[in-house]
């Protein structure tokens, strides 16, 4: 309890509250702008928050992450264009409800379900993260290696067209992580006699390039797309009677979302889709789905926001990102000098509780901002792309440059943008690459240490039941397309 009080004390400074609310505002704005996403905004924010106090910086990003997930539902409901991928399922019933003349009700349902899902997952977070961290404190390098391999295998099931391509992207990310001076031996690897590469490739320009610049290239293909907007005067909160009807849907989806969020590499989008499908499966009014069903909005919204909180559990307790956005938060933690993982919770619990508090404020904050600003946020989607994207590029350039005052990083950003664009065209997602890049160091360090401990005998790793368990989970994860098909046929 003392740690919780300390954490909240750290958080409740005026500057921190202002930054958290700014994070919420940016998150909702970015979420509401089709094309812009929370990972992109976090990537752009990282270089400018390096000079801030770590609590303020990470809290701001965590708040942005929570709010961005909700922001995407505004445009999903009002213009049938999900501002962020997790809001894809919300559009299925949110837009028809708005078209039926109830846009305020649709927004209200989305906001309340999101808040509930978010708070539910935070309650799980506050109990699960310390427990998981306690367990992980017993882990040696071999167990960490097993865990990292399992996390990498989970990239296969990230949203995207192909599991194989996700895995390749993840491994390429790990490979990029090997560029620079090898820590154990001091040998230069893949530096090609370029001095800037000796320190390795910085995370920030790669993240900005993959998330922001590649999206700019994609947006340049559809500059003249016309969207139809439904006017929403205000957000209308659901009545108590309506909430009573939806309580099981919201509760179920919150549970599903939190569980999926906790799984390494599974994100809010998968949670939202499963939340929607389950809401439909359990509904007494299946026929109303697709025509403006309240359950069709509450289900995915509770699930996608719950996944955001859930994803913070492995990120902070194990140092294994639960999603693309949390991978960026993990990168920010590393840049602030923290070692994400069980030691973060055991040594600086107040820091973790401060992040928890920030996410709680963010969840209440976006409800408030949504209540007063729904009309405004529905308008931001109409900022002309021809003016918005040059601005994004300028922020990207400054963000990449200011991180280390290096033009080389700006070139890395542009290259990452070009590579990201062509990767996307060919079915390779950027998020697994980022997660691989961030996990890379952990994978190599734990692999090397395990090999040294076990005298270069790989099979000796399997003597640890935990490693064995992770390898079995890895096998199950990689073979899931086959056995899920087998069971679905049965």
């Amino acid at each position: 309890m003392e740690d919780v009080a300390k954490g909240l004390g750290l958080l409740l400074e005026f500057e921190n509250i202002v930054l958290i609310l700014s994070g919420v505002l940016i998150g909702v704005l970015v979420g509401a702008l089709p094309g812009l996403s929370s990972p992109m905004a976090i990537a752009l924010l990282i270089p400018f928050t390096i000079s801030l106090d770590p609590v303020a910086a990470i809290s701001m990003m965590a708040a942005l992450y929570c709010a961005g997930t909700f922001g995407g539902s505004i445009t999903a409901i009002l213009i049938n264009a999900p501002g962020a991928p997790p809001a894809v399922a919300t559009a299925l019933d949110g837009y028809p409800m708005a078209k039926n003349g109830e846009p305020g009700r649709a927004l209200g349902l989305a906001a309340v379900s999101s808040v509930f899902g978010g708070i539910f997952s935070l309650i799980i977070f506050i109990f699960a993260a310390p427990l998981l961290a306690k367990l992980a404190l017993e882990f040696g390098p071999a167990e960490y290696f097993g865990l990292a391999v399992f996390a990498l295998s989970m990239l296969a099931s990230m949203s995207g067209k192909s599991s194989l391509r996700n895995l390749i992207s993840g491994l390429v990310g790990v490979l990029i992580g090997t560029i620079g001076i090898h820590l154990t031996t001091g040998v230069e690897r893949f530096t090609f006699d370029i001095p800037d590469l000796e320190e390795g490739i910085h995370f920030v320009p790669v993240l900005i390039g993959l998330f922001a610049v590649s999206e700019l290239f994609k947006q340049s293909e559809k500059l003249n797309a016309v969207v139809e907007r439904i006017q929403a005067k205000a957000l209308r909160l659901p009545s108590l009677a309506e909430l009573k009807k939806l309580k099981y849907t919201i509760l179920r989806s919150s549970g599903i979302g939190t569980f999926i969020g906790i799984l390494p590499a599974e994100g809010s989008t998968v949670a939202a889709i499963i939340g929607y499908n389950e809401a439909r499966r359990w509904s007494k009014d299946k026929d109303k789905f697709g025509k403006g069903s309240p359950e069709g909005i509450a289900g995915p919204e509770a699930a996608n926001n719950a996944a955001a909180g859930g994803a913070m559990v492995p990120t902070l307790a194990l140092g294994i990102p639960g999603s693309g956005s949390t991978a960026l938060i993990l990168a920010a933690l590393i840049m602030h000098g923290f070692r994400p993982g069980p030691y973060l919770i055991s040594e600086t619990p107040e820091f973790v509780y401060a992040i928890f508090g920030a996410m709680l404020i963010a969840n209440l904050g976006f409800l408030f901002i949504g209540l007063i600003g729904a009309k405004f946020f529905s308008l931001v989607a109409f900022i002309p792309k021809k003016l918005l994207w040059p601005a994004v590029f300028i922020f990207s350039m400054i963000g990449s440059y200011s991180f280390a005052s290096s033009m080389f990083d700006v070139w890395v950003m542009l290259t990452a943008g070009l590579v990201g664009y062509f990767m996307d065209r060919n079915g390779f997602s950027a998020a697994p690459l980022v997660m691989g890049l961030i996990l890379g160091k952990l994978v190599e360090e734990s692999f090397s240490q395990s090999m040294i401990i076990h005298d270069n005998n790989f099979f000796a790793l399997l003597e640890s039941p935990v490693v064995l368990l992770f390898f079995v989970l890895t096998f199950l994860s990689l073979s899931s397309p086959f056995w899920t098909k087998f069971f679905s046929k049965k």
């Binding site: 391509r165 491994l171 590029f393 300028i394 350039m397 542009l414 060919n426």
Partner: protein, 172 residues
């Protein structure tokens, strides 16, 4: 999409042309990187604890290579689950995208000479104009207002160092 569900009847249908090209390019990159790993400085076993610096990258390269070999045939499995890997690349890259890439590369290449402020102005002018923005009032206010906002926010308030570039010459 027409024949997605039918089994490939000949060797040509077994391979996806674009994926085969991707696989060949990636194999070439892997071969090059493997060759690079052989040039890493040699370290005594005692010093490297029997884990030489090239070991981990080589393991990664081998695993990636194994996966890449499946890529040309992957379309068969994907089409069985109703996914079309060619949907996003069925059309060639738009001219506007290629133009955008060229403009941005040119701007970054000249940014050292231009300096930060002029680079920001160059982006604010060139992209909207290239993308077809012709509303003069909007353009002028954007070209003046946005760079000014960025310079005040980042350079003056946040203290990000902006290279003066050409502006330094003008000052002198």
């Amino acid at each position: 999409m027409k024949n997605n569900k039918t089994a490939p009847s000949n060797l040509g249908a077994l391979f996806n042309k674009k994926d085969t090209i991707i696989a060949i390019v990636m194999i070439a990159i892997i071969a090059f990187l493997w060759f690079e790993t052989t040039k890493f400085e040699k370290v005594p076993d005692l010093f490297s604890n029997n884990i030489p610096p090239e070991m981990f990258p080589q393991i990664l390269l081998l695993i990636i290579l194994g996966m890449i070999l499946i890529i040309p045939f992957e379309h068969i499995f994907l089409s069985k689950s109703g996914k079309n890997i060619d949907s996003a690349r069925s059309k060639p890259v738009e001219k506007s995208t290629i133009g955008t890439m060229i403009i941005l590369t040119a701007i970054i290449a000249s940014s050292q000479l231009l300096g930060a402020a002029l680079t920001i102005i160059a982006v604010s002018i060139s992209l909207p104009l290239y993308w077809g923005e012709r509303r003069l009032k909007v353009l002028i206010s954007y070209i003046i207002g946005f760079p000014l906002f960025v310079i005040i926010l980042f350079n003056i308030i946040l203290g990000v160092h902006f290279e003066p570039g050409l502006l330094d010459l003008l000052k002198n």
